[in-house]
């Protein structure tokens, strides 16, 4: 009796191993693959030496030296530039994209279909490919208004905003269409103007898509290299992407300790945003891919 019980238990255990159990070691392997470089950069940032040494023991020595050393560099200035540029672009892109999506979703005006189609065509062409024309345009604009020329953060924000309508409107447009029109009509009957309807009713209801667009825009702006590198010429105006590339691009003078500490700090806000907004992102990704 007990013998057959034991065989049944062991058979069940064998089946569990064959169908489910082996996936745990596999998960550990995947996690190691995914997380090893990140654990490594964290360890390197805490190591007192200035190199990414091939030492096999992570976290052997812990020191805040690299983080303090960041204070002697332009790191915090670059971080501030990245934040200012990123937040400005996010605010502008969300406001302008939502406004355009509202117009396309709610108003029936002449040229609506044509505008939507043109927008669709324009957004197929990545803006960064036109970086030479942007560079030349900013030379001209800069001779008129220096604040809109090369080496101006305002100019860079304007350039990023140029791509905002194309990449975000469709994502938002689809979402706006899912908000029942009856809500607008009820508000209109109650005497609300189109602006009141937009600001107080619609925008509240589309918050999830605003969050997704804000996150994706911030990540794209934060990680952009080519436009930032072409436009921001002087070192105090650089963003993190440009500045940290400069730190390690030179093989001989590369300071990996500083880089590791900077990378840990720079990635924290993005990591946090991603992990907190995970469920929104999955929806947003399948609605229209941006990164990847």
């Amino acid at each position: 009796m007990s013998g057959s019980d034991a065989t049944r238990t062991s058979a069940r255990r064998r089946r569990w191993w064959a169908e489910v159990g082996w996936k745990y070691p596999l998960a550990a392997l995947v996690i190691f693959y995914a997380a090893f470089p990140l654990a490594y950069v964290l360890s390197a940032s805490l190591a007192p030496s200035g190199t990414l040494t091939g030492s096999t023991s992570l976290f052997r020595e812990i020191s805040g030296q690299n983080f303090t050393a960041l204070g002697d560099t332009r790191f915090w200035q670059w971080a501030a530039n990245s934040m200012v540029i990123g937040v400005s672009v996010v605010v502008g892109a969300v406001l302008m994209g939502a406004a355009a999506a509202y117009a396309f979703s709610r108003f029936r005006f002449t040229g609506r279909r044509l505008s939507l189609t043109s927008l669709l065509i324009v957004q197929m062409f990545p803006q960064m490919l036109a970086f030479i024309a942007i560079f030349l345009l900013l030379i001209t604009l800069g001779s008129v208004v220096p604040a809109l020329g090369l080496n101006s953060k305002i100019a860079l924000v304007c350039v990023y905003l140029g791509g905002a309508l194309g990449s975000n409107t469709f994502l938002m447009y689809g979402f706006f269409n899912t908000i029942p029109r009856e809500l607008d009509e009820a508000a209109k009957i109650d005497g609300a103007t189109h602006a009141q309807t937009y600001w107080t009713i619609i925008l509240r209801l589309v918050t999830p898509i605003l969050a997704v667009v804000a996150l994706l825009t911030f990540v794209a702006t934060f990680g952009d290299f080519i436009l930032a590198r072409v436009i921001l010429t002087s070192e105090q105006n650089w963003t993190l992407a440009v500045g940290m590339y400069a730190w390690v691009s030179d093989q001989l003078n590369a300071n990996w300790g500083l880089f590791a500490a900077g990378a840990v700090i720079a990635s924290l806000p993005i990591l946090a945003l991603f992990l907190f907004l995970q469920k929104y992102i999955v929806g947003g990704l399948t609605a229209g891919s941006v990164k990847g």
């Binding site: 990414l52 091939g54 008129v144 290299f225």
Partner: protein, 533 residues
Amino acid sequence: MSTDTTAAPRESHARAWEGFGWGFAAKLVLMAAVNAVGLYVAWSAWDVEQWGVLVVSLALVAVADVVYFSRRRLAGKYIFPGLVFLLVFQVFTMAYTVYVATTNYGTGHNSTQDQAVDALLIQNERPVEGGATYPLTILISDDGPGFAVVGESGEVLAGTAEEPLAPVPGAAVDGERVTAVPGYDVVDLPTLLADTDLQQDVLELRVPVSEDADDGSFRTREGSRATVYASSLAWDEDVQTMTDTTTGTVYRADQDTGNFRADDGSTLPVGWRVGVGLDNFTKAFTDTNYSGPFWKITAWTFSFAFLTVASSFLLGLAIALLFNDTRIRGRAVMRTLFILPYAFPAFLSALLWRGMLNSNPDYGIINSLFFFGQRIEWLTDPTLAKLAILGVNLWLTFPYFFLVCTGALQSLPTDIEEAARIDGAGRWRQFRAITLPLLLISTTPLLIASFAFNFNNFVIIYMLTGGGPRFTDTSAPLGHTDILITMIYQISGVQGGSADYGLASALSIIVFIVVGAVSAVAFRRTRKHEEVL
């Protein structure tokens, strides 16, 4: 039917106006600011004679006023701000790319012929032989340093780099040297000797004798005496020739190439911008410096984009299938850990891997930890560098497809799979015949979008290998792992070095076309499944 045109049954909101609402006040302030900025830009454009900027800024302000102060054009009110940025910084720049692609714009061909002539005359200035020297006074004004000398008839002449020498009334003279000029500060010699930046400026300063670059200029070698310089080139506008007065060589203006060309084929270093038609496009295919690399780079661009998407999709799909199993515990935690590479900023990942893949095992942890301390040249061997890029991009991208596939799997209808199971389909058959086709419907547009994205994935290439290792059979700064976008960046010269905006723009257009075609396919496929417009 149309919200714009139907008359409201009651009086319109604007007529039932009962005083300043907050909204109206805010709108007024905003519009005042917009008008002020627009007019300021227009005014500055007038000042520097940029007529295009002038016209566009005035037009935009006018349209903004019409849109926001009329009671109609509701949709316009919402679309206009985004549209302005889109038109200026995306649509215009795309059109301008097309224009630049048909010119020889670049180093040595930067501007108009008139400016090229002036630049050549100035570059070739030499001290006039046997020419007079003048006691010099250094001036400083808001526009920078300037010179003052006593002219032949005893009047005081003053000027800066921008303002040619002109008589200044009311200046004080002591002997043959000027001591005070109204509107300028005089710099005395001790001050000059103490300020090395100013010395540098003064030695480089060229004060034109007149508006005409042919007349030469005043320059100084030590700060106390000025010499007249005149160009060794002579420009004859009527017959469009430059003559080198020292050798007698005649250079003719060639409007096809935008150069001054002598009979023996030699050219002067400064040319001007001319239209070259489709030459830039043929240059990419035929120029010995570019055509070899161009084909290799194009092939690698396509294979890089395809292999990245394929490998990341397969890995992401496999993990999604294996872990989309309700019997596994802690799936939420696993998912969070799996997507870490995706949440880490891509440029930091690429730079980090660059350090980890360092060939010296003392520095590169990959070699020391996983390859027994061998010295493997991950980033400097052509084949290994390509493998390294694909590997790093796989690490970066698989979490994206894992997320996407997990989402798609969870939204699949379970009844079909159940029906298949009842019909006796095995697990593999179920996957091949049911799960995969259904999954591909929702993921194909994303696969195509990802292909288009990776086709232009500048960051991963530039940060990881910088396009290297370099090709040995060309002098162009191109390498084995360059993709088209990094090739464009390298030859555009926006980073300094020799610039060829025309050729780079022509290549951009080729990439535009490829990406546009890929996106069009993606769009058609998406549209089959959901009505977009």
